[in-house]
Symmetry: C5
């Protein structure tokens, strides 16, 4: 039987730590920085932390959270709020969108590429004037298509602002759940078939594990829908009207994901009833066989017991046709009982 | 046992595709265009893509999504938004209504005619100034009554605007679910009867499949109610006050459908309890028969066993009326036990 | 076992019928018209369709929907909206309140008098300037007390406006559910007693049927609460402030009905658990009897079998007190087992 | 087993009675009136119906609803609205707060003192200019502490207005549920212990009765929370800002009550699962004993049966050590089976 | 089996006590006062009740509620509202935030340090102009990190206002639930493993107790989320814009806690199904063994019984190979039955 997945532990500073403290997780990945600078004319990549020239847009991606000093330095140089920085380091945040004066702050969870998609990685996004900063737990992400589109001289992305880049990253994170959910859907479909056609091969634990996986994906995506809805609202000044149209498209995808998860959950819950019912049916079937055999033979065994008694005076024993008569009577009893069972439907449906 | 329906796979571009990209599904149906142009004076039909003369209204219907170039061309010529066009091609969208500057965009799911109604087809509707464009997955739809009404010189439809045509299409799509739901209702009624009067002939899987079908219809209609509610709201300028009255009527129908589905789901859920209980009753009945027989004959078999023992010195064996006495005593025991069972109600109610 | 009630089929025009079409149901009752005209001075009754003199109020009641031409004529003469008229004819509408420019339109469902109250009849009410028109599926309704009050020269009703008459009709329709629900409550109370004190006499199907009846009443009353709430809202100009107070009283009754239904549903749901548990208890009890008897006698039967063997050399058989010794040992075993069962509580609690 | 509580019947006028009609219930208690008049200087008590002198406040309490003429007279003299008066007489109203032009009208349900608190009594409160009128079903209430505080020359109550007196009455009615709920909590705790440690002593009906009692209290308190929330809202001019602070405190208590009820309900629902599971465990245990005994002795009984056969030629019967050999083999079989059962865990855990 | 936790009794004044009365609980802890006074320059600690010098901030912490006179005195001197003071003394309040004219009043529940975290202690917080007063049930709390930060000359806390101190206390109370919930999570994980891999070692009562613990934590944290949301709202003037950012961070933590609890509850609920199913499986397994043995041996025992009969004329008994023939036939029957069972899957899967 599959082992239920472990709960994601929230490694976090001990209660009472002053807010804004950056505590490096001992297991945190090595920090590496990669900058992409672009405008309508061209794109360049380096690993400098320098801010962008006016008219250009900087995408600073940071993998690994070990070097909290560097994070602090970047925070100071780009005006990132200490509370936001703290959330960057305390991974296992719930996805959220928070507006600070100097920047929009977004926390997302994206499926880790190359894995089964059930382990998610926190990615924090800062959207400020002319820059987007993304911070991930470790190297490897779902943003490569965005990088490709930026490097493509014919693509439209270079001509758009930082808000559109930010949208593209959010969209990539959400879209990455579609294959994950499709895999889960296939697993569920298989489980459903097994429950219906070969219930003995399943057990309740398998359904439980699948429900746990659905719960875990849902807990990542549900708040991401709210994140996109928040970003789309008119008060947030950081997104142009045009980008907001794209965010609406993105929200649409999040809603589709959630609806699919909800449907899968309802199906999985229904499987519980089928399995319980099939177990119960199984027990009934076994019981019927036992009852059939016992009910026919127990009375007969009594009768043969009677004529095995050693009384001096048992006239039947000395009758000429005593033996065949008793055998015949017993055969008759068996036939009558069998007919009775048949009429009750205990023989016909098996 | 019926096989549970397969999940509708959402064929979609891979994650990371730039928004607005039109990727043709390899299985998409051949693209065919049919235009109906009408005003109060008359109606004409052709397959040209030309926009309509002022004062006339154009209904452009497109079946099949294979030819993305043609779709792109139509999109450019009528000013359709790329994000909307992308949704047209990525079928299995959730129904929705989105307002763009140049047009209203509506996605619906309609039951495929001639089928069991459980497979739905996406139809996308663009309502702009003087035109309605509908795009379907493949030929065949539920709009024939609307076409008939347009061709009827006495009908009112030609005198109304594009918004009324759009309403009529939405109304036709929603109304098409009534016969589907009626068929499901009959199926449910039959299942209910069987569960109540002949529970052995049902199994939990049948209830599960029916619940799955209800879930699938509900996931199409629930968002369609919201679509109609959105269209009806005053801010949307594309619908006249009069047409809005008709949309209210249409919303009424959607609400009726949803309520019926909800009722059916509650009934189906109740069937689960009846079935489990009937299985349990069945087991009890079998158990009672076994217990009755065993409890009467096991002690008797012991007694005859006693007098089958070969001890040298068993005085009863040599008594004159030993044999009939033992037989009589055993008969008495059987009668007493039978009375006791009767009093416990194990004999009376079967 | 009671047969579950049939689903109310919604006879309706086929999908695609133009809105506002009046299609007579072939089973519709014969159309009969009855007018009551009144003002503070007096009341007169006839069957003319003439509108009312100014200063007087007309209540036009129509029983039976067979004569769609007459309905159309009345519609034209009183300015009734075609969409509303269509709903009048398509019975099995969900209760609703819709405001049109020329009149308020209300659809209610009232229990049919003289029946078990579980079949409801649609009544459509038009409230316009100086008139109230009610249209019912067939003759017989719950409005007789209102008629009596109108005919009573001392009653207050004649002095009030059409809005108050309309309130009185809505109130009568809602109040008519109280006796229906009381009967259901008695049925539930009886079922509850039986489940608790004589569970074998019930089966799950009975609970299911009662739940179905509650669902059916609820689906009629739930929207009627919303109807009254809508009528009470300040924007609706058709009801005076004073009448609105009366509508608040009426809403109160609807809320009481809904709450009672909700309570009944929770109780009925609880009965499912009791019944399942009682079935399970029953099975345990039967099982204990079987186990008791079998566990005591099976070993004893083995022992007597041993001394029924025909070995040449079985010394015990020739002992002087072999037979009584074996009988004594067996008695001892039986006693020990009985004590053990008693200690386990299998004997004490039955 | 406890009998489930009877449903509170709503004795009410027959449907169609004109609104505002006061119909005395034949079982209604005798009507008695008691007036308390007070201002900052002093307090006086009498049974006159005279309105209060300006500057003083009148609390008129009426026990018993038999004398509808007197109620009507009081209604006329204090300007009480007929619809409110009707609700006073039709007891078993749902708690509510309704504002009329001349007075605030409040319906509460209070536990009857000296009873188990599960029967509630309707108390109707009118708060007008300078007066509070309370009407109860019969003598005896939870307001004595309020009377004591009024009579206390040092208390603050006399200095406050009628609105504060009204608050104090509402507060007393709500606070009276705390002891009731505490008693239920103890009952639930006891039931929980029994279910966990001695499940055979409980049955599902006991849990059902407790759930019914919780439902009944909840249906009284839930609307009372809304009553207090309504009174607290700013639009209601009858309560001073200061009294509103006290009403907030009162609402707090209602919320606490509701939350406790909710918790109790969840616990009670959990007990259902424990009980079902414990019944199932019990059945398993019984079954294991039966299987153990039967599985060991049935094969052995077969073997001794073999050597009880009367064939002429059964060599084993004439072997020297045939008898002890068979006995030994049977002993061995018993031991092997016992070990096998032990390994399966059927012996170890009982 | 673990005993379910006792319900927290709400010790409270008897119903009818005038609002604002301070009744000391006989078990209340001894009252001890500790004041911390600080400004940007420094910090001093004493146990005087004197208000703070302007420009400084006072944190007055009171442990133990026995001395109601002292509480009354403090209340008068700082202008605390009597209703708030009453709530301070009546512990087991639901967490809440109430604004009074002279101060903000907050009630929280914090886990008691050094315990299993499932017993919570009420802490009441008054935030006024230049002061924060905290009142606890008894000595010992989760505020030590805040004290440490105040005493640290390099920390930022001294430079902030009373509102920030108040935030820090709320934050500490909420953060203290993280370790509690982590411990519960480990317990749940362990239970889940046991249920899945060794179901006999669990019983439903264990799941029930864990659910009870989750309910109890939830009932503390759920209202605390609302408290923080209330404090954060713009109308509340007591918190600066900057502190409000910190409160948002704090709310984030509350939401995380609630979501984790919700997830745990769903998992625990799923365990119920697994356990029931595993019990049912177990019963089936036992039943199969019994049926297997009985079904094979009961017919055979009948056959040997036949040849144990004492009829004079049983020719088979005198056949030469009668005995081996019967033995062979019985062997054959056993083999056929075993094959049949194998085919039914009763032997293969165990
Ligand atoms: Mg912190
Ligand atoms: Mg990464
Ligand atoms: Mg999470
Ligand atoms: Mg899209
Ligand atoms: Mg997307
Ligand atoms: Mg995309
Ligand atoms: Mg869908
Ligand atoms: Mg089509
Ligand atoms: Mg209609
Ligand atoms: Mg329609
Ligand atoms: Mg149920
Ligand atoms: Mg269920
Ligand atoms: Mg239609
Ligand atoms: Mg309906
Ligand atoms: Mg009628
Ligand atoms: Mg009424
Ligand atoms: Mg009333
Ligand atoms: Mg169940
Ligand atoms: Mg009435
Ligand atoms: Mg009373
Ligand atoms: Mg109170
Ligand atoms: Mg009630
Ligand atoms: Mg309080
Ligand atoms: Mg349950
Ligand atoms: Mg009080
Ligand atoms: Mg403390
Ligand atoms: Mg609480
Ligand atoms: Mg944070
Ligand atoms: Mg915190
Ligand atoms: Mg469940
Ligand atoms: Mg369940």
């Amino acid at each position: 039987m599959t082992k239920p997945p472990r709960y994601q532990r929230r490694r976090r500073s001990p209660p009472g730590t002053p807010p804004g403290t950056l505590t490096a997780d001992p297991d945190a990945g090595e920090t590496r920085v990669r900058a992409i600078r672009f405008n309508a004319e061209g794109v360049s990549e380096d690993d400098s932390l320098a801010p962008c020239a006016p008219g250009s847009i900087l995408w600073l991606n940071i993998d690994g959270l070990a070097d909290t000093d560097l994070l602090q330095k970047i925070g100071t140089s780009f005006g990132l709020h200490p509370l936001a920085l703290e959330d960057v380091v305390n991974v296992h945040q719930r996805p959220k969108a928070e507006e600070y004066e100097a920047h929009q702050f977004i926390v997302l969870r994206m499926p880790e590429p190359g894995q089964d998609g059930l382990h998610t990685e926190q990615v924090s996004i800062f959207l400020g004037d002319g820059f987007v900063i993304t911070v991930q737990e470790h190297a490897g992400d779902v943003f490569d298509p965005v990088r490709t589109r930026l490097r493509n001289p014919l693509g439209q992305m270079r001509k758009r602002g930082a808000d559109y880049l930010c949208y593209a990253l959010v969209d990539a994170a959400i879209d990455a759940y579609f294959p994950v959910l499709e895999a889960l859907g296939e697993k569920l479909e298989q489980l459903e078939d097994t429950v219906v056609f070969d219930p003995d091969a399943v057990d309740m634990g398998d359904i439980h594990v699948l429900k746990r996986e659905l719960m875990s994906i849902r807990s990542a995506i549900l708040p991401m829908r709210d994140v996109v809805a928040t970003l789309q609202r008119e008060e947030t000044q950081r997104f142009s009207d045009n980008t907001r149209l794209y965010l609406r498209d993105c929200q649409d995808h999040a809603v589709q994901l959630i609806e699919t998860i909800q449907t899968y959950r309802e199906i999985a819950t229904g499987l519980v009833d089928i399995l319980l019912s099939s177990q119960s049916n199984r027990a009934n079937e076994v019981m019927q066989v036992l009852t059939l055999i016992a009910t026919i033979f127990i009375p007969l065994t009594f009768i043969v017991g009677v004529y095995g008694m050693n009384f001096d005076d048992m006239p039947e024993l000395h009758w000429r046709y005593g033996y065949p008569a008793v055998m015949g009577i017993m055969g008759l009893i068996a036939v009558v009982l069998a007919i009775w069972f048949y009429r009750k439907g205990w023989l016909g449906r098996r």
